[in-house]
Symmetry: C2
Subunit: 312 residues, 2 copies
């Protein structure tokens, strides 16, 4: 099923690899063929698409515009293919996900496992990144679905859903705070604290609150892995902060306790957004998984916010 001009596909490969020869290797053709198609494209558009650096090619402004068009075309072709396949009964495809670390402990593995048990022909690619990297990967067409902190998202992305989860402190069950129902930030700062590094979005959620306090908190452990922070907290090293999403199973094994944060009487929210490229219709199998994802996250949002009702 290759009814699009080779130029389109070659251009796409060159953009991804950043080099004509690398693209040629990926495409299993001679580099000269790729070079010629690119030159022909530039001639027809009437403007150079790449800047030739010694190390490879970089997109020009016009090149970026064409890249967007080509991405739209190829992604819509995928959707068409899946439409045809679903008509003939052969469902097969790959759902590519980019998400932040909070999802890896429970939400994502549960969902993927459940989905694959029902649709074994659908495979998955998951990549864990920082929030802004998730959005970038989505913009570049390297992922179908993105889950990230709901920051300002670029206009070429569409926010499919927005779910809010309470931010809380995570401590081992032997920790002095463990018997409380909720905690304030000040109460936590009386103990050793495991802080997130700026790469994690939790840092940006807590920083403004910490800045408001009169006392500067004592130096404590800093880390850039939610997993590591959780394991440290479980060993009683200190107080970590995260949404309850990240500690689903471990807290049921009763090693960890989740204490919703209470900031001057009101909860601290962490907004999770689900994103897709705006100029795109998803293939049926992707759309199907997306809906499950939204439903599941909505379910968790409902359940967890019911477990820790608002304190105000």
């Amino acid at each position: 099923m290759r009814f699009h001009s080779p130029a389109i596909q070659y251009f796409h490969a060159v953009r991804r690899t950043g080099s004509i020869r690398a693209a040629a290797r990926v495409l299993n053709v001679a580099s000269s063929a790729v070079s010629r198609q690119i030159l022909k494209l530039e001639q027809e558009v009437g403007s150079p698409l790449f800047e030739r650096n010694a190390r490879g090619l970089t997109l020009t402004t016009v090149g970026e515009m064409l890249a967007r068009h080509v991405m739209n075309v190829l992604q819509d072709l995928d959707r068409f293919r899946s439409d045809v396949a679903s008509l003939s009964g052969t469902w097969r495809g790959t759902v590519s996900i980019a998400c932040i670390e909070s999802l890896t402990e429970s939400v994502l593995p549960d969902l993927i496992a459940s989905h694959r048990s029902r649709a074994r022909r659908v495979s998955f690619t998951a990549e864990v990144k920082g929030s802004s990297d998730v959005l970038e990967a989505l913009s570049r067409g390297e992922a179908d679905i993105g889950i990230a902190m709901a920051l300002r998202h670029p206009p070429d992305l569409r926010q499919v859903a927005l779910k809010r989860f309470r931010l809380g402190a995570v401590v081992s069950r032997e920790h002095p705070l463990a018997r409380r129902k909720t905690v304030t930030l000040e109460q936590c700062l009386a103990f050793p604290v495991i802080n997130a590094l700026p790469e994690l979005s939790i840092y940006h959620l807590l920083q403004p609150l910490i800045a408001q306090l009169s006392e500067t908190p004592e130096p404590a452990i800093q880390a850039n892995s939610i997993d590591l922070m959780r394991e440290l907290a479980a060993r009683g090293v200190g107080v970590a902060f995260q949404t309850q999403l990240g500690i689903g199973r471990l807290s049921r094994d009763s090693q960890l306790v989740f204490l919703p944060l209470d900031n001057a009487g009101s909860p601290v929210w962490s907004d999770l957004g689900i994103y897709v490229r705006a100029e795109r219709t998803l293939p049926a199998y992707t759309e199907s998984f997306l809906q499950e994802l939204v439903r599941e996250l909505g379910e968790r949002e409902r359940r967890e916010n019911a477990a820790y009702p608002q304190t105000s």
Copy 2:
């Protein structure tokens, strides 16, 4: 700028014309070439795209899926072209509009004239149709922007805006009703009435109200042209019904009077929707006009509903 496979363009032409030979004439190529590209396409998709009737070709289900994809590709190509053109300073393009008759008297000509005085390189195509035909033309990719009565719209269309205008009676200034501020349907039916035929959406707005009345209205003039109905009313032939949108200038020339309808104390609304194809990003010049259209219609909605404040 023709970097898409000829098969794509040929398929598109065949779909529009409904015949290979007709498509070949439009494309200025031999019919055999078109035939072969279609056959090749079908072989690559692995399924027939058209049903061969003696009189021409009709899309199969798979064909319709491909048609959607091809439409997305070609429309997005247009957008890309306009993006490049706007970068190099050459703004040129055609905005294609499908709308119902109410717009032709004042809104559309005013807007187009004003827009062209500022952007002379942008040309327009306008086609007046019934509401459902407007939506169909939009779905088929034969228009960029559609304005129609806000019915249930198919899922492949996006409602950009929804504006409501009061429905009213239109009479000549010598008519006995002309001195009133508002009228009820019963008051109108005491006089000869110029009714809309079912092809016009006004018919579907008024019919349920008329059906509620105890008396069946006396037979009167029926017409399927808003223009004709307006001119008849101006000559004192009877009472016509329409939104004030359709009688802008004539009423200022004071030959016609617009009387908002009052139905059991509440106004009768006519909802006007602005639509575009959902799976599409508009070219810059189209987007620009669309925004002006939405703004202008919102302005008229505000102005007219202020001129005739709610009676309840």
